[in-house]
């Protein structure tokens, strides 16, 4: 059976994910999303991958959450209270969510994955030298492509943010 630490982290992650979508103010939603990402990082620590957990905290809690909070503060405050969704769509969404969880969860529970256990004797925790070696040898083309993608994303975001000024200059 699951241990109490796992249950605690699972409850924290899922409940703060719900709060991030349902909170009244968007800024609290952004903070709840950061807490949910911390919970995912806790799962990574439980799964013996501390390097990915630290990467998750640095990227999601450090960069993405701060970026989202800055955007929320840039957008006018009244626009953030747009809870104009109708009741019918909301209840339909909840029913869809429950059907999804029940069906996919049932499929996984009856599948062979249910009997899989973590073999602690055979599998030691993967240390980061293995990750670094894989990244710089076999996956080096993917790493380069990822670097180019990130550079393209940064340039694209800058171009998007500056487009209005250029259009004004052209007029």
């Amino acid at each position: 059976m699951a241990d109490p630490v796992f249950i605690g982290v699972a409850v924290l992650t899922v409940s703060s994910a719900i709060v991030s979508l349902e909170s009244r103010e968007l800024i609290y939603g952004a903070i709840a999303l950061a807490i949910s990402m911390m919970g995912i990082a806790g799962f990574f620590l439980l799964l013996d991958s501390p390097f990915v957990a630290m990467f998750q905290i640095a990227v999601y809690v450090g960069a993405v959450a701060v970026l989202v909070i800055f955007t929320v503060m840039l957008v006018r405050t009244q626009a953030l209270f747009s809870t104009k969704e109708d009741k019918g769509r909301k209840s339909a969404g909840i029913i869809l969510m429950i059907i999804f969880i029940a069906s996919i969860g049932a499929v996984f529970l009856v599948s062979g994955l249910n009997s899989q256990t973590f073999d602690n004797s055979k599998s030691q925790a993967i240390d980061f030298t293995a990750i670094g070696q894989q990244m710089l040898t076999y996956y080096s083309p993917a790493l380069i492509a990822l670097a180019l993608t990130l550079a393209g994303a940064v340039i694209g975001a800058l171009a998007l943010a500056r487009r209005e000024e250029i259009e004004q200059k052209n007029e």
């Binding site: 241990d3 990227v59 969404g93 973590f118 990750i131």
Partner: protein
């Protein structure tokens, strides 16, 4: 000790919450939150299976996925700020010129 199926169930629940947010919410920032939750559920699955098979490739894939998700958030927030400048609104049903 928790097993593989526990992590899979948590990740299924997170994906369901993300799909609910994408279906119900009309606020563009909240839809971006939903996308993040779904991406994190996928990362959790990658790491859980990597631990189960004791293979470093799952962790490498998760690292790539986290970096791609960060780039996606940057571009998404840029688009939201542009749309806010144009429409003074972040409700996706008001973004008329983005309709097909």
């Amino acid at each position: 000790m928790s097993e593989l199926i526990d992590y899979i169930i948590v990740s299924v629940v997170l994906v369901a919450i993300g799909i609910y947010g994408l279906v119900v919410k009309r606020n563009a920032v909240r839809m971006l939150f939903s996308l993040e939750i779904i991406a994190n559920a996928a990362n959790l699955n990658l790491i859980a299976f990597s631990r189960n098979l004791s293979n470093a490739q799952g962790q490498v894939f998760a690292l790539f996925s986290i970096a791609i998700a960060a780039a996606e958030v940057a571009v998404g927030l840029g688009i939201i700020i542009i749309a806010y400048r144009l429409y003074k609104e972040i409700d996706v049903e008001e973004f008329k010129s983005m309709r097909g």
